[in-house]
Amino acid sequence: MTNEELKAKLTGINSALTFEEGGQWLNVNVEPKDWLPFAKELRENPELNFDYMFCLTCVDWKTHLGMVYHLNSKNLKHIIVVKSKLDRNNPEIETISHIWRTAEFHEREVYDLFGVTFLHHPDLRRLLLTDEWVGWPLRKDYEDPVNMIKL
């Protein structure tokens, strides 16, 4: 599917979506509260069939946190990037680990390093750091005088 077709199709699902083009792939911005039903539709709609999530990450934009989901369809061979802006002080978004199982670990990693709370995640704990760790290391304002490597 071309980007134009995808855009038409996605707008049909949720009219509140905004799109960014010009990058490598079609970028879709979605409100955090709309994310779960939208994700379900992306996975289950046979014309979209995004069955493979190859990247899930977060970017700290200093004003807000931006979740980035890279989705691919194995048989239809199209890729979209879904983005969602989260409040930096209280980042919360619904988990999608039951839709794409790989998200379970990736969400734990994002929780660990950015502090994004994934609602209804089956096992939201620190993954890489110790359970007692304070702070979210990949945020831009994180300072750790002991372990930080300054160049």
């Binding site: 970017v59 194995k74 390093l113 890489l128 490597i149």
Partner: protein
């Protein structure tokens, strides 16, 4: 059926496998709940070798960060570097000379063979046969010598730079690679004698740790792990980079989804990689090995994603650039991390000895998982 009973009951044995355990190949820590010898639940604890490479890369320039990525999946460091330089080149819209492209592909395939060699030996060691390990290292050493001669180091080469490769091929390169291809082919038959056709080994691997096709996709498994389940996911075929679309090789697929088919995928990939080497080694085009680049690289504002096929699967580099000399945010999508998430699912209900065989067949490199 084991999904439901995955709770700890009275009489269950909870054992720590790792962080120091002979078969976790590093510092992976698994908390395993056993009932008898049957696995009820596996809970990976990561981070023992977590160095926060993503954070480190935010402070490094586009030339420097390439090198750090060789320390992630140290067995396919060339291919990791390749993914990074591809991403930077995408941002700079750099064209790479044909010679550099061929050199990069040659190096990638040599790395893949070296990595699979080590995996083959280590898998043998996991199932209790120690001899294959040394035999595989002998072949790996030949590749290391080739690498050392051209790149200067043996494991973490930093040979790829944005715009090409760091140095031209050594004059011995072609001769040595041809010799290696000649030597390696009969060794593959020995490999078959020692493990592939060994009935104890087949017994250990067949029907163990079955990962279905849908699960493989859902868990984001890539590389030989997913191809063993019949998922076509070779980036070299799907999203060809460099000159892979001009090469004649097949994507190895097995359909069973058990440990043995994952094993067979990798063993058959030896031959595919050898055939790529054979196609290229006599056809290295003349020309520059590096495109001229500015001394200081600055990526324009934007987001760039590149993916390459490492020995373990799909390696993605996601760079968010703000126009500075260093990336604003960088994310490495490592194949091992996603493959590990499937471990709990496929090992449930198996014996503890199977878990070792499954881990061997998934081919983990712990720094790749932890980053």
């Amino acid at each position: 059926m084991f999904e439901e009973v995955a709770t700890t009951e009275q009489g269950d044995l909870v054992i720590n496998v790792g962080p120091q355990h002979p078969s976790t190949h590093g510092v992976l820590h698994l908390i395993i709940t056993l009932r008898g010898e049957t696995i009820m639940k596996i809970e990976p604890h990561l981070g023992y070798i977590h160095r926060s490479i993503e954070k480190m890369c935010e402070g490094l320039t586009y030339r420097q960060f390439v090198y750090v990525t060789s320390k992630m999946d140290y067995l396919s460091s060339h291919i990791n570097n390749h993914g990074c330089v591809l991403c930077v080149e995408k941002g700079l819209q750099l064209e790479v000379t044909p010679r550099a492209q061929v050199i990069r592909v040659l190096m990638d395939e040599l790395t893949r063979i070296a990595s699979h060699c080590l995996w083959w030996g280590a898998l043998g060691m996991d199932v209790g046969a120690l001899t294959p390990f040394f035999h595989a290292f002998r072949e790996r050493e030949m590749i290391n010598v080739i690498m050392e001669e051209t790149c200067g180091t043996r494991l973490t080469m930093n040979y790829m730079v944005p715009g090409g490769v760091m140095a031209d091929l050594h004059s011995n390169f072609q001769k040595r690679v041809k010799q290696f291809i000649k030597d390696f082919k009969p060794k593959l038959i020995e490999y078959d004698d020692l493990l592939t056709n060994n009935s104890i080994f087949i017994e250990r691997m067949k029907g163990v740790g079955i990962l279905s096709k849908d699960d493989a996709v859902s868990y984001g498994c890539t590389g030989p792990t997913a191809r063993g389940s019949g998922v076509s996911c070779d980036i070299r075929k799907w999203y060809p980079y460099e000159i892979y679309d001009k090469l004649n090789f097949e994507e190895v697929l097995e359909t069973e989804g058990d440990s043995y088919s994952r094993y067979m995928v990798r063993v058959r990939e030896f031959r595919q990689s050898l055939s790529i080497l054979e196609q290229l080694i006599d056809n290295i085009p003349e020309g520059d090995f590096q495109t001229k680049t500015k001394a200081v690289l600055k990526l324009p504002k934007g987001e760039f994603y590149s993916k390459v096929e490492t020995a373990r699967g799909e390696f993605g580099v996601y760079i968010v650039a703000e126009g500075a000399t260093n990336p604003y945010r960088i994310k490495f999508r490592s194949p091992g991390f996603s493959n590990l998430s499937a471990l709990d699912h496929i090992a449930r209900g198996q014996k503890i000895a199977d878990m070792i065989a499954i881990m061997g067949s998934l081919d983990f490199v712990i720094p790749d998982i932890d980053r």
